[in-house]
Symmetry: C3
Amino acid sequence: MTVREIAERLGTTFEGDGERQVSGVATLEAAGASHLAFVNNRRALREAHASAAGCLLVCVDFDNSGGRTIVRIKDPRAACAAVINWVQPPPAAAAGIHPSAVIGANCRIAEDASIGPHCSIGDNVAIGAGSVLHANVTVYHDVKIGARAVIHSGAVIGADGFGMVFQNGRYDKFPQVGRVSIGDDVEIGANTTIDRAALGVTSIGDGCKFDNMVHIGHNCRIGKHVVIAAQTGLAGGTVIEDYAVIGGQVGMGDNVTIKSGAIVGSGAGILSNKVLKGGGEVYWGTPARPLKEYLEALASVARLPQLKKEVEALVRRLAELEKAQGE
Amino acid sequence: MTVREIAERLGTTFEGDGERQVSGVATLEAAGASHLAFVNNRRALREAHASAAGCLLVCVDFDNSGGRTIVRIKDPRAACAAVINWVQPPPAAAAGIHPSAVIGANCRIAEDASIGPHCSIGDNVAIGAGSVLHANVTVYHDVKIGARAVIHSGAVIGADGFGMVFQNGRYDKFPQVGRVSIGDDVEIGANTTIDRAALGVTSIGDGCKFDNMVHIGHNCRIGKHVVIAAQTGLAGGTVIEDYAVIGGQVGMGDNVTIKSGAIVGSGAGILSNKVLKGGGEVYWGTPARPLKEYLEALASVARLPQLKKEVEALVRRLAELEKAQGE
Amino acid sequence: MTVREIAERLGTTFEGDGERQVSGVATLEAAGASHLAFVNNRRALREAHASAAGCLLVCVDFDNSGGRTIVRIKDPRAACAAVINWVQPPPAAAAGIHPSAVIGANCRIAEDASIGPHCSIGDNVAIGAGSVLHANVTVYHDVKIGARAVIHSGAVIGADGFGMVFQNGRYDKFPQVGRVSIGDDVEIGANTTIDRAALGVTSIGDGCKFDNMVHIGHNCRIGKHVVIAAQTGLAGGTVIEDYAVIGGQVGMGDNVTIKSGAIVGSGAGILSNKVLKGGGEVYWGTPARPLKEYLEALASVARLPQLKKEVEALVRRLAELEKAQGE
């Protein structure tokens, strides 16, 4: 594709050599004359000048006094994602079930779904159109996965929830006879685990994106377009509403509620039964609290040595006064 | 089963329609006329009134002025676990070794054990009667697993412990030539890893229940009936005694000792070589300390802005006094 | 091997019975008359007296008034690693590709590499001489692994990085079209995940050792001989320089830089874009700070109840003074 074609397809204009061929997309650092690279922040701006990229995808207010071949657009990163899919698309997973995969009884797997090597699919599983299960994915019985899902290797969907009954000096399993239901356009990271419900369903809404090694306990109900970064864990019964964004290594107790649009910073710890307000509120720390409160507490602790000195000075001055008064 | 039969089998009585058929167990919210549901806390009590469940499994002091069909029992949740196993048991894993599983030399696998698809079992492995290894479990060589174990998909038992020797500017492996020994009635969650000992044995006692993505380092010795929630990690040589309960995302350094019956809250961090007392003591935070101390520290930090104001007021009052004295 | 032969091969001397046969290596506790055990710290010294080990590998200044058969050496643990490899080597992985493994197109796998059962190797993968992939490892396309790598079961190399574009109320994938490159002599723990770059490469330098369930995000660049303990997670674009040591359950935001030789304590949390100095500096806590600062903050918080009492006492004394002055 030429620079001109890319600009046209993005619905914008270019400057410089419109006939230049773009054979691939690369980082500013690695790009050569046949590559396009994108510039979307201040650091990238500095790197852009030194970049050998044949074409730069830049913000509308980019200063092109250097006379580079550029394509101006509002969101260069989003545009770059589109360009990659045109000029250098990732390899498509082969449709169909790999011969080494093991499929249970009563499964409905869309014909154009891709089930990778060594996947194991239990009984009564449905997998929607265009979904891709990479190698070594395990899906237990009674799981429904929607259309266009991407499930990365090592993910385990539908293992038993962690529920026990303690009696007679031992733990017995509370039978985990529920299901898992996953919506459309969901991506699930490598080695992530989503447990089946004890009773009822563990559900993941349309458009959710989970990173690697996320743990979703039994009976959690995750809304639509929820993002969860790596190594975060949800105990049982937690509800996360639409468009919440959860950082990495967050831990949640049982039956937490996170309202729509809340943002939970990485490493936060949320106690059981807590309700976090949504609407863009940002939470941080353990126990998780609004970011402002968290930062104030951090600052207070940082000021402690100073506060201690102030108290010591007061003690001295007070002793002086007391002495003077006693005289 | 009828309500009458369920009550009889539980050794208790019912009220209402004893001949009502119970075809399944469900949550209070989802249950219909043919379902049993259980009520074991205040929130559930409120939901119970609105539930369409044909039969409620309730505490002995349940107020049945509504005239529901109920079965009274001391521990409704535990009773419900039994009822599920009678009326709606989870599917049993097929006994035997799935043809896609790969089994090493000198293995002793009980005839009624179930080894799922794509499992890999190393040499010199013993697996006891009734044990179930779900799909994609990996067991390295020289591992012993007792009877009635449940090992969920993606678990890795017996990988090398993380031991190195640093010399000549590089790390070389300290050979991990020990074993893993797992008792009876142990459940191991999906994608959990239990490393072999460097020398000797990493041991897991009877009745232990580990959630998903738990990491057990080399040479750990875990007693009987220990519960560990998801994403908790133990470095090498840690000893956990019987009946300890460890929350999720807990981290332990090397050679920690946790005494029998201790409870460690989720997210706690325990430094190497620490000894935590048992007998029901609850630990929290990083570094882990008794819950009371942890809460006091939290409260102290929360009071800091107030303390700062008090000190500022003191400074003002003292200045007043000093000024008065100087006059 | 005899004690004499072991001492000779280690380039040192022995005391006691040089003709004693050493058939294996064991812990001090488990060792019998035909075993060698090593003694490298104070606790081991105490255990050594009670040990039935036929031969002890000890420090040069060991007090052998007990007349044991010993081999003196500067670093007994490192020496023990060598002895294990001579007398009780771990089983060697069979060279070659297990028939159940699935190998993509255009792969270059060294003849003496070992690819275990149920491994899945994508297209355009190179695996160097002597490397071992244990069972159930997944390697996506366009991944290069050097010589003598050890990749433990359940590891996933080259899954998509976690990059999205938010537009029109939904998240779309930023195509992850980069690669992964892993150097020589790298060990990767069970269920660890190393994501491919969005553009360019996620790189792991020679001699790195990663424990279980480590997460390496897209475009991270890890230097040589970096050690990362279990359950640590790196978001995207982080750079860790040579010889850094990272504890377990550490979390790092995007684009962190950790300089050569830095040490990050377990459980630390490092905010995006932070730069940690190297040269042996030790970091701890969340947000991560030099150990000294972390300990001071801990101590300050621990002193808070005392500080509060001091302020209360000041308030009382000041009130006394004010009262006296008013009279």
